[in-house]
Amino acid sequence: MTALLRSRILLVDDDPAGAELTLAALSAVEPDADVDVVADGEEALDYLAGRCPFERADDEPPHAVLLDLKMPKIDGHEVLREIRADPRLCRMRVVVLTSSDQERDRELSRTLGSDHYLVKPPTIAALIEQLKGCSHLFSPTTPGPLG
């Protein structure tokens, strides 16, 4: 029962060091969460579609995605657009986590249907605080925006 209720999160970030720091912060906020990491938008879409090499026993998509914007191949906005267009995924929570504090990025993310927008802060302590602020979005029990 507890296992079923564990939140599952997909972290999408092309910067391995940055991803590691985000994982460290996330583990402080959601110690029980089951977090997978992919390195770019293409991998993220493969993962969500359950394509090779991301076949899984259960076909359920994760509860939330932490999504970087500026990535090689397919960027974060494109991934967000794909997620919202997929009826299977459209209820999934998407939190944008980026180093860009440009208003146009923020605006575009909102338009495409992101649930939250986080600008990566300079310290881990600050990142933990920010993640805590939106931890409800990682909970498996929270219904999605269309639910």
Partner: protein, 812 residues
């Protein structure tokens, strides 16, 4: 004496009269008869004695002289009277004997008494009487006379008397009839006529009839009183008729259905309005139906249940439901649904009251029903109209108010405008009193706005005011307030209707246009000056090389080349700008990411190595963290600086005072160990970009706090310089008693990465004042500073006053 009571008065009077006369006469007649009858004998004897006495001399003479013939002749004289029927005279002889001397007898009469002498005396036998008298002379009897009289003759008088009495009775009858006739004229007839009139009045009910009044006696008075009574009756009758006519007109002309019922519910009256309202004619319902006919059965049943509960006794669902309360109480008003004959339903308001006679006995019930259909429709329409009105008001984006001048009660409309302008919901704002409202006006504008209001209200003239109005968040909106006053019949101002519109945007737009105009004018002036310079240059060139054709050509080529170069430079600048933008973005992202990672991992290292590293190694880690942060700040500042030059300005009214408070509040945590003495003078509002201006204030106050660090008491003053009428720019200053600066390096103060203090004394990136200058310059203002080493510093900057502020600057 019994008189028939039911006879007419005339007959009764006549009977009484005749009865009285008859009795009197009967008594008289019987008295006379008795007297005559009883007195006949003595009167006959007296008469006979008298006759005998008168004959004494004659009789004695004849006897003395023996003259029987004479005596006979004398006796024969009795023939004259009927009373004496026979007489005989006897002569006494000396021997004592008597012999018949003379005799008389009435013709045909047979003597009753035998002719023998008898002793003196009076003897009666039947109707006859005999008187015997003896004449004596000198003691010697001479003669004896016997006279036979008849009582019949005497008694005949009685008959005659009675006959006279009968005659008298007849005469009396005649007199009585005459009197009766007279009585009839003077008493009976007026009474009879009075009686007839009364009978006519009672049978015809015509109170206009009058009795004749032809005497001043009691009967006349009676008739007069009777007539007066009739007049009163007629008057009352007239009033009743009038009242009834009025009532009928009222009941028939009213639009209210008036229905009266007997106590059992049977309809007594049913007026025109009731007919029209219900579709029944009165002939159909009067005496035949009860009001249950046009009531909804379900409603009646429901009401019966209610009443049963309320009254504690069973009320049957029927007529009792309508009247059980009013039977013993005041009229009852309720709303009911009525059924028209055609089945349509309509709401009515029904007032039921009881009807009672003067003794207070219940005689029925009366119901007045008003059709509420129109009223409900009107209410609905009013509601809809009000709803529409509210929507319209809401759409206008204006706060509309309706002020009762007497009570001060104010109604607000326009929910969205109220929220937008004041930050409160309509309900919250409705609770704001007039006093509260006036306190929300900017202190500088309040007196003028209120005075304006008072004057307009007193004069009843349209009210118009422009003032700043405080939002819930503390900021101000420029409000145009327009109102009109309404008067009552006596001309007193009683009500005010008005709108409050947010004209901040309009004022700002006007200001922006004005500023653009100024800029344009400036540019035109500059261009004109440049043109002038060019012209003079060209003229100079012309003057220098006038004679030389190729000089002209060369000059032309130069000009062309210059233009081409300028164009090139322009496009280069455009490209450079685009590159700068791309660079900025790249820096913001690519450069900061690794730096953040460095910091992050250092943090992790610091945590993990706590207590493991030696002191020096730990310090190294701390230093590296600090330096990485500083580098991050430098990058951020640099980005900010470049962005200040490129970002769109969002112009609005900005309270410098509010910004100062915000920044101070933010810094408070960092200076808890410091003694800071702040002097913050009243600061006017400006027109500018709030975010950028906040940066200016944060930089200047931050600097002031930073550079006074060495002072035991830091003194920092913020204020605005004296304004002159017509000023559009306000000069603000921030003064501190800190480290100051060497005026020699004044020109470097506002340069990028220019610092006048080393990092050991005062940390910093050297970019803050450069940002300040860029921001102020972008607002069209200037920034400069005064100061000396260890003498503190004053930073000045100018900013455009907000349009609302400007209207409140002292007039020129």
């Amino acid at each position: 004496m019994t008189v028939p009571r039911n006879g007419s008065i005339q007959r009764r009077v006549t009977s009484a009269l005749f009865g009285t006369i008859a009795i009197a006469l009967a008594l008289m007649a019987s008295g006379i008869a008795f007297y005559e009858y009883k007195g006949a004998e003595p009167r006959l004897r007296a008469n006979l004695d008298l006759i005998a006495e008168s004959l004494f001399t004659t009789v004695v003479s004849t006897v003395d002289f023996n003259l029987p013939s004479v005596a006979t002749e004398t006796l024969a004289r009795f023939q004259a009277g009927p009373m004496i029927q026979a007489a005989r005279l006897y002569k006494h002889d000396p021997g004592g004997t008597m012999r018949l001397f003379a005799e008389y007898s009435q013709l045909g009469h047979t003597p009753v008494f035998s002719s023998i002498p008898r002793p003196d005396g009076f003897l009666v036998s039947g109707d006859a009487a005999l008187l015997t008298t003896t004449y004596v002379r000198n003691g010697t009897p001479v003669a004896t006379l016997q006279i036979e009289g008849s009582l019949t003759a005497v008694r005949r008088r009685l008959v005659e008397s009675l006959r006279v009495l009968g005659l008298g009775f007849l005469i009396l009858l005649l007199v009585g009839a005459a009197v009766s006739h007279l009585l009839q004229r003077s008493i009976s007839r007026p009474l009879r006529k009075l009686a007839e009139t009364a009978r006519a009045v009672s049978t015809t009910e015509d109170v206009r009839l009058r009795a004749e009044v032809d005497s001043a006696d009691e009967i006349g008075q009676l008739a007069g009183q009777f007539n007066t009574m009739l007049e009163r009756l007629a008057e009352r009758d007239r009033r009743i008729v009038e009242a009834y006519a009025f009532q009928t007109a009222l009941v028939e002309s009213t639009g209210v259905a008036v229905i009266s019922c007997k106590p059992d519910g049977t309809v007594l009256t049913f007026n025109l309005a009731a007919e029209q309202m219900l579709g029944y004619s009165r002939t159909e319902v009067v005496g035949k139906a009860t009001p249950s006919l046009w009531h909804l059965e379900s409603e009646v049943r429901q009401r019966a249940e209610e009443l049963t509960r309320e009254l504690g006794r069973t009320i049957e669902p029927g007529f009792a439901v309508f009247v059980c309360r009013v039977s013993h109480g005041p009229p009852e008003i309720r709303e009911w649904t009525w059924l028209h004959r055609d089945g349509t339903r309509f709401p009515v308001q029904l007032v039921v009251s009881s009807m009672r006679d003067p003794e207070g006995r219940l005689v029925g019930f009366c119901g007045l029903a008003t059709n509420l259909t129109e009223r409900k429709k009107a209410e609905e329409s009013l509601r809809a109209s009000e709803h529409r009105y509210r929507i319209v008001v809401d759409q206008t984006g204006q706060m509309v108010y309706d002020l009762d001048v007497k009570t001060g009660v104010n109604l607000w409309f326009g929910a969205s405008a109220v929220r937008q302008i004041t930050g409160y919901t309509l309900e919250e704002f409705q609770a704001v009193t007039l006093q509260g409202w006036s306190e929300m006006i900017h202190p500088d504008d309040r007196a003028a706005a209120l005075e304006n209001f008072d004057q307009s209200c007193a004069a009843g003239l349209p009210y118009s005011a422009l003032y700043r109005f405080r939002h819930r968040d503390g900021s101000y909106r420029v409000i145009q307030d327009l109102g009109v006053f309404l008067r009552d019949e006596s001309g007193r101002v009683v009500q005010m209707l008005g709108v409050m519109s947010d004209v901040s945007q309009r004022v700002e737009s006007a200001e922006a246009i004005r500023r653009l105009n100024i800029e344009l004018e400036q540019r035109v002036r500059e261009r004109t000056a440049e043109l002038g310079r060019r012209v003079s240059e060209v003229e100079k060139l012309n003057a220098d090389q006038r004679g030389l054709m190729q000089s002209l050509a060369s000059s032309q080529q130069n000009a062309d080349r210059a233009a081409a170069r300028l164009q090139q430079a322009n496009s280069s600048l455009l490209i450079a700008n685009q590159e700068l933008e791309a660079f900025s973005y790249s820096v913001s992202h690519d450069l900061r990411a690794p730096l953040r990672n460095i910091t992050g991992f250092l943090e992790l290292l610091e945590r993990r190595s706590a207590g493991l590293l030696d002191a020096e190694s730990a310090r190294y880690v701390t230093v590296v963290i600090g330096e990485a942060r500083r580098m991050g700040m430098l990058i951020d500042d640099l980005l900010t600086f470049s962005r200040i030059g490129r970002s769109e300005m969002n112009l609005q009214e900005v309270s410098i005072e509010a910004l100062v408070e915000e920044v101070r509040h933010e810094m408070a945590n960092d200076v808890t160990d410091r003694t800071l003495h702040w002097t913050i003078n009243p600061l006017p509002r400006v027109q500018g970009d709030r975010t950028l201006l906040r940066q200016v204030i944060a930089n200047l106050l931050g600097n002031a706090v930073k550079f006074t660090r060495r002072r035991p008491v830091a003194v920092i003053e913020i204020g605005v310089g004296a304004t002159r009428p017509g000023d559009t720019f306000l000069t603000f200053y921030v003064r501190d008693n800190g480290a100051g600066f060497n005026p020699k390096y004044l020109d470097k103060l506002f340069g990028v990465f220019q610092r006048l203090h080393n990092a050991r004394d005062f940390e910093g990136t050297g970019i803050g004042l450069a940002n300040v200058k860029r921001i102020i310059t972008r607002h069209g203002g200037r920034v400069w500073a005064e100061g000396a080493v260890d003498k503190g510093a004053v930073f000045y900057f100018t900013l455009p006053a907000s349009p609302a502020e400007r209207t409140h600057l002292p007039p020129a």
